[in-house]
């Protein structure tokens, strides 16, 4: 059974989120960040793509050769 919500810090965070709106870190698709910025929401975009463009075979090879 998951623990019951107890209030406290998570609830405070939720309250702040509702009051102030979210601050967003967007990873990957830049269009999501652009959309939020267009609504005057604070957003930081992280330019990221999956290793080897998402090719699983090359990604496995890189895991052995690079990390």
């Amino acid at each position: 059974m998951p623990p019951e919500p107890t209030g406290g810090p998570p609830a405070e965070a939720a309250t702040r989120l509702l009051a102030d709106g979210p601050s967003v870190i967007n990873v990957g698709l830049e269009s999501f960040a652009t959309e939020l910025a267009g609504q005057d929401r604070p957003v930081v975009h992280v330019d990221w793509v999956p290793p080897a463009g998402g090719d699983p075979r090359l990604a496995r090879l890189l895991a052995k050769l690079l990390t």
Binding site: G53, L58, L62, K64, L65, T67
Partner: protein
């Protein structure tokens, strides 16, 4: 988390490749006849830019240059006969890189031509490149008419020997400090060489005056250098080759030791795999065109000049040359900074001796690691001239081209195989 054994071995090998690159001490020392220094360059053997290619697959400007250089060498009476000879297999074609050479665009190297000699005094190796012909209709862009051939004859009979005599009188010119200064004066040494050409002229002029046989010949030689903003490009290319060759053949190293193109294919060499070529179809440059020309006239990218990017200059040093970024149609000064920063994502380290003022003296990004290229999908940015796709026309613009990812992917798989990693 500890690194895998293979990754650690590659890191050690790449550190050695970087060490050799940074330790290089290139000097422009002489001008010599190709036949005197390239023993395997026999009759009717033509060296060209890029990876291996035969006549059937050569692009228009490469064919134009082949025909022109065959007439220059006296192997054919005219361009038409030269083309027929090429078609019938009368010439042997080999890459410059197989002969310690590099050549811009079409990159013709044949026995009678005079070659710049750059010696890497830290390792004792030498590299060669033909003398830059100037701008406009020139053989490196596929030009082959009488004016083009006459200029090459003059470079061979008058200018080349005069330049060689001056260099010998000087005891050579150290190139590392010249490049360092040029970077502070707005050159990136591929599409902008105006500062380095001027700095070279300042050093050469007194020696040329001392060694020149006569007043008019000296005047012609000095005017030729002074009138050619790209004079230093071929020096930078021979320098790049001289720096990179000692970094070849290091077991397990994934550092790129050469990038080049022949107008049809793009090819790379990687340290661990020595002289094995990894090729992919070459891309079209994106750039700006001279009045009267458009992208419809353009040939796909050509030349061994990407050896300049291989050592961390050219597109990798774009931040040093904000004037170039507009000339090649790649944006504004902020874009120039961004391009150099992007190239840091795929290189092993910065070169502290070649610093860029606009990046707070950060060194140029150095030693391209194919692992990082494949991981990020960021491919090297290369500044380039654009040739007309038809033989005999010449340069029609300048731009930027990306190295194709396929070369790096196949090279990575080959290195993995040599290491027993699947």
């Amino acid at each position: 988390m500890s690194r895998t054994n293979a990754a650690a071995r590659i890191d050690i090998a790449n550190a050695e490749a970087l060490r050799r690159m940074l330790a290089g001490d290139p000097w422009l020392i002489d001008v010599v006849a190709a036949r005197d220094v390239l023993p395997r360059l026999g009759q009717r053997r033509i060296l060209h830019a890029g990876p291996p290619i035969d006549w059937a697959r050569m692009c228009g400007p490469m064919r134009g240059a082949v025909a022109g250089i065959a007439v220059f060498e006296g192997w054919a009476r005219d361009l038409s006969e030269a083309e027929h000879m090429a078609e019938s297999g009368a010439f042997v074609f080999e890459p410059n890189h197989h002969h310690d050479c590099v050549g811009p665009m079409t990159g013709m190297t044949t026995p009678s031509q005079k070659l710049l000699v750059v010696e890497n005094r830290a390792f004792g190796n030498r590299a060669y490149c033909a003398i830059n012909e100037g701008l406009g209709k020139v053989m490196r862009f596929g030009g082959n008419d009488a004016d083009v051939l006459d200029r090459i004859r003059w470079l061979t009979t008058e200018f080349g020997p005069a330049l060689g005599a001056a260099l010998r009188q000087l005891g050579g010119i150290a190139l590392k400090p010249l490049i360092a200064r040029g970077l502070t004066m707005g050159d990136e040494m591929h599409q902008r060489n105006v500062a380095c050409s001027s700095l070279l002229l300042r050093q050469l002029a007194p020696a040329m005056a001392r060694t020149s046989p006569g007043g008019e010949a000296l005047a012609r030689a000095l005017a030729f250098i002074a009138g050619n903003d790209q004079f230093h490009l071929n020096v930078a290319m021979a320098m790049g080759k001289a720096i990179m060759d000692p970094a070849r053949g290091i077991e397990n190293s994934t550092v790129v030791t050469a990038m080049c193109r022949n107008g049809t294919d793009f090819g790379i060499h990687v340290s661990a795999t020595g002289d094995r070529w990894f090729t992919a179809p070459v891309e079209m440059p994106q750039g700006l065109y001279f009045p009267g020309f458009s992208a419809a006239d353009a040939n796909p990218d050509m030349g061994d000049s990407a050896i300049v990017e291989t050592v961390g200059l050219g597109g990798f040093a774009m931040a040093a040359a904000p004037a170039v970024v507009g000339f090649v149609g790649a944006g504004n000064a902020a874009d120039a900074l961004a391009i150099t920063r992007l190239m840091r994502e795929i290189t092993v380290a910065d070169n502290p001796e070649w610093a860029i003022p606009a990046l707070d003296q950060q060194g140029v990004p150095t030693a391209i690691d194919i692992r990082l290229v494949v991981e990020t999908g960021i491919t090297p940015t290369i500044n380039t001239g654009i040739a007309h796709r038809k033989p005999g026309v010449g340069q029609v613009g300048a731009g930027v081209v990306k190295a194709p990812l396929g070369c790096f992917t196949s090279a990575l798989e080959a290195v993995a195989e040599t290491m027993g990693v699947a």
